[in-house]
Amino acid sequence: MSANNASDLPTVSNRLAFNAMRNWKERLIEAILLGAATISVLTTLGIVYVLVSESYSFFQNVSIIDFLTDTQWTPLFDDAHFGIMVLISGTLVSSGVALLLAIPMGTIIAIYLSEFANPKVREMAKPILELLGGIPTIVFGYFALLVVTPILQFFLPSLPGFSLLSAGIVMGIMIVPYIASLSEDAMRAVPMSMREGAYAMGSTKLYTAIHVVVPAAISGLAASYILGISRAVGETMILAVAAGMQPNLTWNPMEPAATITSFIVQVALGDLPHGSIGYQTIFAAGLTLLMITLVFNILGQWLRAKYRENY
């Protein structure tokens, strides 16, 4: 701000002009930043738009009833069937296996770290868990197919080379760090006064953890489980590599089967013309996937609201 008049002070009009320009610049910057923030909303709108519009074209050709009730999934055959249950069964079975492993193990690690481990162990363990959580899923896929499956076959000789079981187990290992880390955060947020109350009654550590800390942190635990479910349902590469990609309506984890996600990968690997029914199929499958994760997320938010901690 240069003021060259005799008194060496800016005139009132000068100052106002300066302020006006400054305000204008501030507003412009704020608008730009707001624009950046709305990108995330645009992303959501884009996802909904793409999935719904392509699925709309898909459902012009395939009835919703068939989509939900048909027991075959052969979209690329001459005799095409579009029974999404086939893919959903693979998704649910593999996710079930994963969560059966990840929820107990993640919770145990969280309780151990938050209530038992001394601070040094905790400081060491958290980064290790983070590293485990950062391993690319394709590497886990490799691990499932070429390391875990042979080990499992040693115990279960009838297990085929591709199976929901081995993909599910590795998926579970992948999810453990998320559940452990989020649950631990939730438990550590439980105020110390609550624990002191329990200890003052003569409880042991485990009793305090299970009967006081876990119930107090239940909404955070639920949130971590929901995130785990979202991860499992949306996981792609482990299944594409290790579970086989043939559609198979089964509830048996010992069998190979395609999931919603691995089907999308399989189609994308091929060369489907834009606008063909095969192309639209993957969007219908994607919409189904998004709906499933959405249901779990709404459930999670409802649980959180219901059991919101009031310490």
Binding site: A37, V50, I109, Y112, L132, P136, A268, G286, N297
Partner: protein
Amino acid sequence: MKPLTTEQIRAVIAKGKFRDNLFKAVGVFCLAFALLVIVALIADMLIKGSERFTLDFFLNFASRRATQAGILSAWVGSLLVMLVTALAAVPLGVAAGLYLEEYAKRNWITNIIEINITNLAAVPSIVYGLLALGIFVYQFGFGQSILSAGLTLALLILPIIIVATREAIRAIPAMIREGSMAVGATRWQTCRYHIVPYAMPGILTGVIIGLARAIGETAPIITIGALTFIAFLPPVPFSEIDGGATAGMFDWVMSPFTVMPIQIFNWTSRPDPAFEVNAAAAGFVLMAMVLSMNAVAIYLRYKMRKNIKW
């Protein structure tokens, strides 16, 4: 009920302590198991892939013969995609985080943005692939290019960067802001000269974690139709290309490409076991990239916690 005798109380306590110790053992076992998996993964790939760790492996293109196949196009592709991702995601993410922490008024627009960011983090990555296939590849006509892939991954990691930025900004005490405003700085000057520089280490940590996530992502890139067999590199700016023409500054962004995870996927799914060796070696290289990025981020965060005392 009569009051318990001392012996009875001691028996109850002994039982409780036994359970404590049992649980401790289970907890340690679970943690050790997690550690074991990491070690087993790395060791398996390192041992199986060891015969491929030659210079040729890094400088060869993909090939039908396992022993001659290398990862040149894959690692170059990964680096270029990451460049696009970082250039798009970092400014957008930091700007969005800055807006939400420093500018946003508590109104419905802010609410929608915040709820939206939380929910986006739970959207499966393959759905981003479908978004990109519909919008970037076909609607915008970017095709199956480095640009499409980079932008897709940028959207994918945007929530990570936004959240990291917000957390870093939130850790800055109000007195810094007040001090700056008190000497007449505008909001933007406060952000530019105080908030962003002080939040930098936290933002950087988030950026590295985001990029480490992006470099390992496979599904969305397969979905937009990245090729699995690429035996050429994207054109270097101003280099000569076929027919004597000169490549433009940004021609490479529109080039077809492959990336490390796709190369690994391709090798893993081949029936010929010779390619398992390639998959293991490439997997090890990818793990090394991802883990070292994560390690840098963890170290940065650790140092930050030690250094900064307001």
